[in-house]
Amino acid sequence: MILALIIIALVILGASAAAMLSRNLIHSALLLVVAWAGIAAFYLWAGAEFVAFAQALIYVGAVSMIVLFAVLLTRQGATAAPVEFDSWRRAVLGLMVAGGVMGVMFGAIMGSPLDGRIASPTPTITVKQLGLLLMGPYAPALLIVGVLLTVALLGAIVIAAVDKSEETP
């Protein structure tokens, strides 16, 4: 059980770290797909099958596609889009700050009394239960997220689309 968790963790962290370090944007995107798949595996490990399914569907299926589109739309050359580390200073500062964040969070996690928490024996939650929850107590949230997705759709289209007036300068 713990071993599986550690393997999943290594996959997630390795893939995401590699994605954040890769010189090639396409490679980054593909490595992130691996990381997202790893996160889905974590959800499966924890017993949240439906969330794992949603994660795979939305991130692996959709978000990665948007990213790839963006890469293709915005890249300058015809070949794959290499990204150089333009400045070591930026990288070092970023690492330092992130290290600081990690330090304080690590300290807080180790210092908090979490040992008493034990995994519940059968933490499965069925899709039907989830559906009832969504339509029941969480109906307001569902409404809001509907509006939110509408805004995102509308906004993304308006911002990204090319206006007719711009085509004929």
């Binding site: 500062l93 970023g94 600081g100």
Partner: protein, 669 residues
């Protein structure tokens, strides 16, 4: 017939209505605006007289009308109106002087295209001032106080095409606001300590004994609470009444039209500070009975007043601009009033305030008349010989000058100054203020004699002066009326101290004591004689010829002419800090390589530095150089805004880490 307190609001409401009329009429409607302003002010004057009658029926009572205004947490904030002899006398004075100045303005501003706006602002100013006077709540008083400041900003900067006027307006507004910051703090403190800001509220007001007893505890710094609050409030008065060290705005404010100078810097606005301290006198005096405090609030008031009185008179001796001489004389006279309050005789202060309002308005309007006649020539060295050409102006100006100098018996200024000297003489704490005041008396007589001699005697020393002629009746009639008042007012004081009794029935009579009369006659004579000897006997012939006093003490005269270098001092101290800070900012910019780190490192340094900066700034900023300093600081700050989004994000994460560490460290303590 008398005006009950319920209808007291009508007095400021009338000029406010005139201001509204002025604001709504088109630019061509200047006659309407002026007419409305004068008519409403006359109405307000009548009402004020009725109110005075009402107040004198019950001189010992504080008639109040309080009403709830809004709720703040559990406590409800209440405002109110107050009618007592102090309010009533001030109302009569302000409305009367304003009325005369309004009439004078119709002549003075005849040629100005924006005259309609001018009357609108004047009415607004008068309304705010009257509101200040009738307020029964420190908060309402503060609101009107700020409105007065705002209106004076508009009026000083009225001739905004002159850059000096715009700068002076800004300087006046910001300088007085610096004092107001202390006022606001004191006000908040009082609200916190007492839960109310009403002056009188049937035993619960902040000026009544029950509340004052709450404030006698000692603070950690050794002061009594009432002392600290009183001194904070006094900061506001220092700013508004041009007391040392915040006096620097007042002479600059002479850039406004002369009626404004007369209204603001003689009769009303600057008097507001004195009025405020007189109004909260019970609070200021609450620490008098405490023996174990290092300083009493009133002692500070007395010394500040004495310093201001002497310093203003000294500087006035060396000025050459007719309005600046009068301005420094105002500074000096306000110092006398503060001195009187400080030594415990607020009645004498108010008496002097009232008499001063009349003869200083007279002097300013007289100066305005001279300036108007001499085509805006204000330098006394370039005037001269106006006596035969402007007989009315000369006569009235001479009366004003004698009243200000304190020429005995006939003139009101003598009696009020006498009361102040008497009070200062009897002060147990220190005799220094008394001697400062005595010296000031001599100097006042001296510089006023110099002024009259230079302007009216001798030969004209410029084309403008030689072509001057008397002004229209709209301008001379108010002069005559004010001159008459300057003389008649002395009847209120002599032979019996009627006014003092009306203002404060509980005070025992002390004006019957004539022991100081003879010495002060000698002092005045000394000043007059010296002035005449230097300037009147052999009038200067050319504008360029040196001042007689320069021959005796050139260094001193230069320093005085330079207004003792206060503006330069402020510029230098603030400027020094500024350059030091700019160096630090440049250092951070060069050697600390990143915006975020630079910003956060800077923040630590700054919290130390800037608080020092602000101590300085609280004292100095707004003076000629202060703004530049802070602006340099601002430039250093906004360098952190590099435009680089990575820097922003890094700051966000770093801010998280630092806050967390601070919180954890704070908890570990």
């Amino acid at each position: 017939m008398s005006l009950p307190v319920q209808h007291l609001w009508l007095i400021p409401a009338l000029p406010l209505a005139a201001a509204a009329v002025g604001a709504l009429t088109p630019r061509s409607g200047r006659t309407l605006a002026a007419g409305a302003a004068i008519a409403t002010m006359a109405g307000a004057f009548l009402l004020a007289c009725l109110a005075l009658g009402g107040a004198l029926d019950f001189p010992a009572a504080h008639q109040v009308l309080n009403f709830a205004w809004f709720d703040l947490g559990a406590t409800s904030l209440r405002l109110g109106l107050l009618l007592d002899p102090l309010t009533a006398f001030m109302c009569v004075m302000v409305t009367f002087v304003s009325l005369l100045i309004f009439i004078f303005s119709t002549g003075y501003m005849k040629a100005d295209a924006n005259a309609k706006q001018f009357f609108c602002f004047l009415s607004l100013f008068a309304a705010a001032m009257l509101g200040l006077i009738i307020a029964n709540s420190l908060l309402l008083l503060f609101v009107c106080w700020e409105l007065v400041g705002l209106a004076s900003y508009l009026l000083i900067g009225f001739w905004f095409h002159k850059p000096a006027a715009a700068a002076a307006a800004k300087k006046a507004f910001i300088t007085t606001r610096i004092g107001d910051l202390g006022f606001l703090l004191g006000l908040l403190w009082l609200q916190d300590a007492q839960g109310t800001l009403l002056f009188y509220d049937g035993g619960h007001g902040i000026l009544e004994s029950a509340a004052l007893a709450n404030l006698t505890h000692l603070l950690p710094c050794g002061l009594a609470a009432s002392t600290a609050i009183g001194l904070l409030i006094f900061c506001g008065a220092i700013g508004k009444s041009g007391q040392f060290p915040l006096h620097v705005w007042l002479p600059d404010a002479m850039e406004g039209p002369t009626p404004v100078s007369a209204l603001i810097h003689a009769a009303t606005m600057v008097a507001a500070g004195v009025f405020l301290i007189a109004r909260v006198y019970p609070l200021m005096a609450a620490d008098q009975l405490l023996a174990n405090v290092p300083v009493h609030a009133l002692t500070v008031v007395a010394f500040i007043g004495a310093i201001t009185a002497l310093m203003g008179a000294l500087i006035a001796v060396a000025q050459n601009d007719i309005k600046r001489i009068l301005a420094f004389s105002t500074v000096s006279q306000l110092g006398y009033m503060m001195l009187a309050i400080g030594v415990g005789s607020w009645v004498a202060a108010i008496f002097h305030l009232l008499t001063h309002a009349f003869f200083k308005a007279l002097l300013f309007l007289g100066a305005g008349s001279v300036i108007h006649a001499a085509h805006h020539e204000q330098d006394i060295r370039r005037l001269g010989g106006l006596r035969p050409k402007m007989k009315v102006t000369f006569a009235t100006f001479a009366i004003g000058m004698m009243a200000l100098s304190g020429v005995p018996f006939l003139f009101s200024g003598f009696w009020s100054k006498e009361a102040i000297l008497h009070a200062a003489h009897g002060w147990e704490v220190s005799s220094l203020p008394f001697y400062a005041a005595v010296l000031g008396v001599v100097l006042t007589a001296f510089y006023m004699t110099r002024l009259v001699a230079e302007v009216f005697y001798g030969a004209p020393r410029s084309d403008e002066a030689s072509h001057a002629h008397e002004n229209s009746p709209a301008m001379t009639v108010p002069l005559v009326i004010l001159a008459a008042c300057s003389i008649l007012f002395s009847l209120l004081a002599w032979p019996s101290p009627w006014l003092q009794h009306q203002l404060d029935p509980s005070a025992h009579s002390e004006s019957g004591d004539m022991s100081l009369v003879l010495p002060s006659i000698v002092l005045v004579a000394l000043g007059l004689g010296a002035g005449w000897a230097y300037y009147g006997r052999r009038p200067r012939t050319k504008a360029e010829s040196p001042d007689p006093l320069d021959r005796y003490a050139p260094g001193l005269m230069a320093a005085l002419a330079n207004r003792l270098g206060f503006d330069e001092l402020y510029a230098a101290t603030v400027g020094r800090l500024s350059s030091g800070f700019a160096t630090l900012a440049a250092f951070l910019e060069v050697f600390v390589w990143d915006g975020a780190v630079r910003f956060l490192a800077g923040l630590g340094e700054l919290s130390g530095l800037v608080s020092r900066e602000n101590d300085e700034a609280g004292f100095n900023a707004g003076f000629d150089a202060g703004s530049k300093t802070l602006r340099d600081t601002g430039v250093a700050y906004s360098k952190a805004q590099t435009g680089d989004a990575h820097g922003y994000l890094r700051t966000l994460a770093l801010g998280f880490v630092l806050l967390l560490i601070l919180v954890i460290l704070g908890g570990a303590r």
